[in-house]
Subunit: 347 residues, 2 copies
């Protein structure tokens, strides 16, 4: 999905909206470009989104039934959360069919594809990659705007959030930036992108390059590419590296989490200076991309401990370190803006 | 395809058998476990495979027609080469249908899948991955036999050949080794494997792990995993890394080619010591795997120059270096055998 269109969302989150697993719904409210007109969760009905979680930033009514949600005139119904067991229960499928018959687009962020199960309905299976992704070509080397890419000490460590906070900070500073989404939640938030881990591995770097080329066509000042996985995560390191080489970044931001001790069972989180060195060295095999800042999720720490932790990272790495959600993304953005464009010929 | 069965091959190589692009056909003759009973190429008919290329090691008659090939009682017909333009011409498709009707299995190494085009026929689309590949689990960390993995300075640089030469040398030395094929030619040669670059990227490391687990069930002394791409190849580095982390190697063999100056347009081949260091450091994020030897394709050099080149590599890297096709794979195999088993806990 490379085009972007305007949407007015109703979010299907029955029984789940207050739950931390509802991260796609929460992400859409916190960072989304599109309007959210209603949330469907009968267990929270009558409240607003801000009553449930004040940090969601946008207020929308929570309702009990699809009929009530339709009164807010949505264009699209988001299925943002898989129920336990993975597949959608019959009751939800009936509701989706009803929504489709009422003219709504079904936007589906689950692994399970819904287009085949809802014939005739307008379905956006967000994880389904485009059919015609080419191999990496090298055209990404010549993209004009600066490209910033978030990488991580592990998977699910805050790369998307850091990237979105940078985008918000850039926008507030009057910069036009393009957030390049590479996973389902980011894609729903920004309205376009490719779920790179769903692409056949031969074409994953090509997918990343196509995303950057598309972002460049919109002539932003800055391109911000959401990272995936980690160079040291045995299950996902290939996705990480395809994305890092394919998106042709000029600089990197390393994301970490104060509370994360393991990357994978038996594999401890590496020391930051070692990992920073490796990201830079591996990037430079193709095109130099220095790590310019560290973004840390410090939500597990009290505020004073969080500030100590960030100072310690700064001392260890010699880089600005901040928690963009808690203290703002300005230091990361500044470091990225100060870093030069690079090319394969930069030494 | 994880099972292995016995095959007697006829190879369809019409107009192409003498061509260097016929590498799947040549690989099957040079290294294959299965018998080759006939080659179909009317432009070379009457000769034998050894008349066309002495280095193919196995003698088989070259014939003009499918009918003649059938007289040698093949079980399978290999389509080992795509004609210019990519898709098979109607004439070939008719021949494949005829072969299928005569009871032959069609073995297809092309990107184009043939099962949907030959309904009712027995077709092995070698590049089609299994449907049920799991995520990487970590079970590969506990495989008992030593795992050796070939990596490269670039793609198509001799990793498969080096791995197969190691296997042959190991067999000659009385060792039971399992060659783990990860690309179409290797799979046709060994009769099983998964084309890892055709796997959805989220599952590529899991595919590599499943291959190693399957090889271990056969209780060999040594598992030899064919590498793909290169850590520094922008289009394929993700496949390379998924394979390196997913196959849980205990040591690595770096493959290079004396004639290869570029990895990709604008990206020169990195210095060997730098690349060796990076492969080791990135492997060690998950599980240590030292580079124990360098395998070089020196076919572009005269013999004296080749020996000088190998000595120079040895001096630069401090490792044994040899051209396994030209001078034998013994030094590589010895270095691999001398290297210890490792685990994520090895420091």
């Amino acid at each position: 999905m490379m085009e972007r269109r305007e949407r007015r969302y109703a979010i299907l989150a029955e029984g789940w909206f207050a739950n931390r697993h509802a991260k796609t719904a929460h992400g859409l409210l916190r960072y989304g470009r599109d309007e959210v007109v209603a949330v469907l969760d009968s267990t929270q009905a009558g409240k607003t989104t801000l009553d449930v979680r004040a940090d969601l930033r946008r207020k929308a009514p929570i309702v009990s039934t699809l009929r009530e949600a339709l009164e807010y005139d949505p264009t699209s119904l988001l299925v943002g959360l898989a129920p336990p067991g993975g597949r959608l229960p019959g009751e939800w499928m009936r509701m989706l069919r009803e929504a489709a018959e009422a003219g709504l687009e079904i936007v589906n962020g689950l692994h399970q594809r819904l287009a085949p199960e809802l014939p005739g309905a307008e379905v956006w299976d967000v994880r389904e990659p485009p059919k015609d992704i080419p191999l990496f070509s090298g055209a990404g080397f010549d993209v004009e705007p600066k490209i910033v890419h978030t990488v991580g000490t592990s998977s699910a460590i805050g790369k998307m959030t850091a990237t979105l906070e940078m985008e918000r900070t850039a926008r507030d500073a009057g910069l036009r930036s393009e957030f390049v989404a590479t996973g389902q939640t980011g894609i729903i938030i920004s309205g376009w992108g490719i779920c790179v881990d769903a692409v056949v591995s031969d074409f994953t770097a090509g997918a990343a390059e196509q995303l950057v080329l598309e972002a460049a066509r919109r002539e932003p000042d800055l391109i911000l590419v959401e990272g995936q996985g980690s160079l040291g995560h045995p299950a996902y390191s290939g996705v990480t590296l395809s994305l890092m080489h394919g998106s042709c970044p000029d600089c990197l931001v390393l994301c970490t989490d104060a509370a994360r001790e393991e990357v994978f069972p038996r594999i401890p989180t590496p020391e930051l200076p070692r990992l920073i060195h490796l990201y830079e060295e591996v990037a430079a095999l193709v095109k130099p991309a220095p790590v310019v800042a560290v973004s840390a999720n410090t939500s597990a720490l009290a505020e004073a401990a969080a500030r100590d932790y960030l100072q310690q990272i700064s001392r260890e790495t010699g880089l600005p370190a901040c928690d963009p959600v808690r203290f703002g993304a300005e230091p990361i953005l500044e470091a990225a803006l100060a870093s030069p464009k690079t090319s394969p010929e930069t030494s």
